[in-house]
Symmetry: C2
Subunit: 332 residues, 2 copies
């Protein structure tokens, strides 16, 4: 069975790391049909639209999408594309790797971020010359759906500990956002209780203090949308930067995979970007499509290259994107 994969390089280093990930996918015995689409600053400059309707359709119609990065237009591109795949959860593993200089080498956390609402629901109003409002939206149904996913994730042993007993932590700010985060918290904890999954909780500010102090106390972390954005980026700072973090926007029967990093304008075009996050995003894509063994092969190859080199400049090496990609392919 062939899989149709929408491929959107976007801007900046997206144009370098996505081809690297495709090269890795093509080296496997999996039948892919790649359909290229455009989105981002460059296409907006050319056409006035950061996300052409055609690209949106390609993503909505594909079996899965591999996305790179967009510049200024990031929000205009990625937020609608998350909708295009009907994504309700953003899966963001943050893991330190042997051989990579990390502030907290023991970090191994997977964030499951609500992907449809919170402040991202985006109802904003300019009520006067002085005052604007944003309506933050939380539903029990979206919170429950996220929690169901989290429970399955843990039950399937997909958490860092690989043990269904590890449960998850829910991070929120329900002492201030009593009605909205109160609803989120209650819905998530209720699902965990129904399914017999262990769940504890942490206020998001306390979580931000405790994660750097001792990341080993956390495994799977379930968060509202913005909290998941910020706390997973914090974790990136503990494992050595955004160059390593893949992510998956998972929907009901579609998904989009993207490195957490941006376009890195300072190094774009030089062929020296770290392809790791994009290649690990491709590994998540493989697993999502049922090619678990191939996903593991890619991960193992990536980990071996991270620990033995060659490495790109962000990791203290001087290898090119091409050399690192070739080394990964070599070890598949």
């Amino acid at each position: 069975m062939s899989h149709e994969i929408a491929v959107i390089e976007g801007d900046g280093i997206g144009r370098e790391v996505v081809p690297a990930a495709i090269e890795v996918l093509e080296a496997l015995e999996v039948d892919f049909e790649f359909v290229e689409g455009e989105a981002g600053d460059a296409v907006r400059e050319a056409t006035g639209e950061a996300l052409p309707a055609e690209t949106y359709e390609q993503v909505a119609d594909a079996d899965a999408t591999l996305f790179g990065a967009a510049g200024e237009t990031a929000a205009d591109v990625i937020l609608p594309l998350r909708e295009a795949v009907d994504s309700f959860v953003n899966v963001r593993p943050a893991k330190a790797y042997p051989g990579v200089d990390a502030l907290r080498p023991e970090t191994d956390v997977v964030f499951l971020r609500e992907n449809t609402e919170g402040v991202y629901a985006g109802h904003e109003d300019r009520l006067s010359d002085d005052l604007s409002t944003l309506t933050r939206v939380v539903t029990s149904s979206a919170s429950r759906e996220l929690a169901e996913y989290a429970c399955e994730f843990v039950e399937d042993g997909r958490g860092p500990a690989g043990d269904p007993e590890e449960g998850f932590t829910v991070a929120h700010k329900s002492n201030v956002m009593r009605e909205t985060d109160g609803r989120f918290r209650e819905a998530v904890l209720a699902v965990a209780e129904e399914r017999g999954v262990d769940a504890d909780e942490e206020l998001m500010d306390a979580f931000a203090t405790k994660l750097p102090l001792d990341p080993s106390q956390y495994g799977v972390v379930v968060c509202p949308n913005l909290a998941g954005d910020v706390l997973s980026d914090l974790a990136a700072g503990l494992v050595g930067g955004l160059g390593l973090l893949p992510s998956a926007n998972v929907g009901h029967d579609n998904a989009l995979f993207e490195p957490v990093h941006g376009t890195a304008p300072d190094i774009a075009g030089e062929g020296i970007a770290n392809p790791t996050a994009a290649v690990l995003s491709a590994a998540m894509l493989l697993e999502y499509l049922g090619h678990v063994e191939e996903g593991t092969r890619v991960r193992t190859a990536v980990e071996s290259v991270l620990s033995e080199g060659p490495r790109t400049g962000d990791l203290g090496g001087d290898a090119t994107t091409e050399a690192v990609t070739a080394a990964i392919v070599d070890r598949l």
Copy 2:
């Protein structure tokens, strides 16, 4: 001239660290009249109210307040008290000290957190069985007032670098919250431009990645309310925990000072809590009331004790609150 200081110990270790801070204040040649008030879980249990009207009035009428911590009722106590002193900015220095084990010993950042609006404005509605909303509020006037304070702060050399040229960084999420954080960002940058203060900006998620990677690139950081809460708590994790962080809620002619930490129920009542954050809050109170020299004396004494001991358990020592307080008083 005597200063009337409202003193609210609150719950848990608040009952231990506030008396320690008072002991330090009483050792100085400054004329204080202390007025004790009650707030928190214990008084709610006794009277049904976490914040008695009398306490609110004491705080509103005092020249300044020293507050400890409240347990479950923290939000019911501290949010109205910030209003009682008409506070528009929450000043939160996060500094690593020699002698204290810190993940990032080079951290020296002061957060200036908007203290009246954002999600804390607190309009929440339960619109259906499934859906709740929160109205996040941002005004140009509050944003400008915060920015004016930030400019003065920097101009007066009160930033970590002590240099008016250091400027400040504004952290926000205006790529998603375009209208509200867009308004915040614009207002803050406009004031900086008007006053000739250097200002750069960072998305709050990128800030959360970059602060642990290299805190030395930041000095004064200006944030919306919730961002300031979370990002300053993150900084606490880099300097060795909440036991060291003081804070000031500054209003137009009143202010409330509090350690950033909570009630620490696990060690409350044992006389082993670290008084540093409360004593440094008292130093901020001294400076606020114009006793800059005395404030410096307290800081210097605290820093000397941190570097030479005695130390409490959270810092790897086994000294009591009393012993640490006595050592600070000794070195004044």
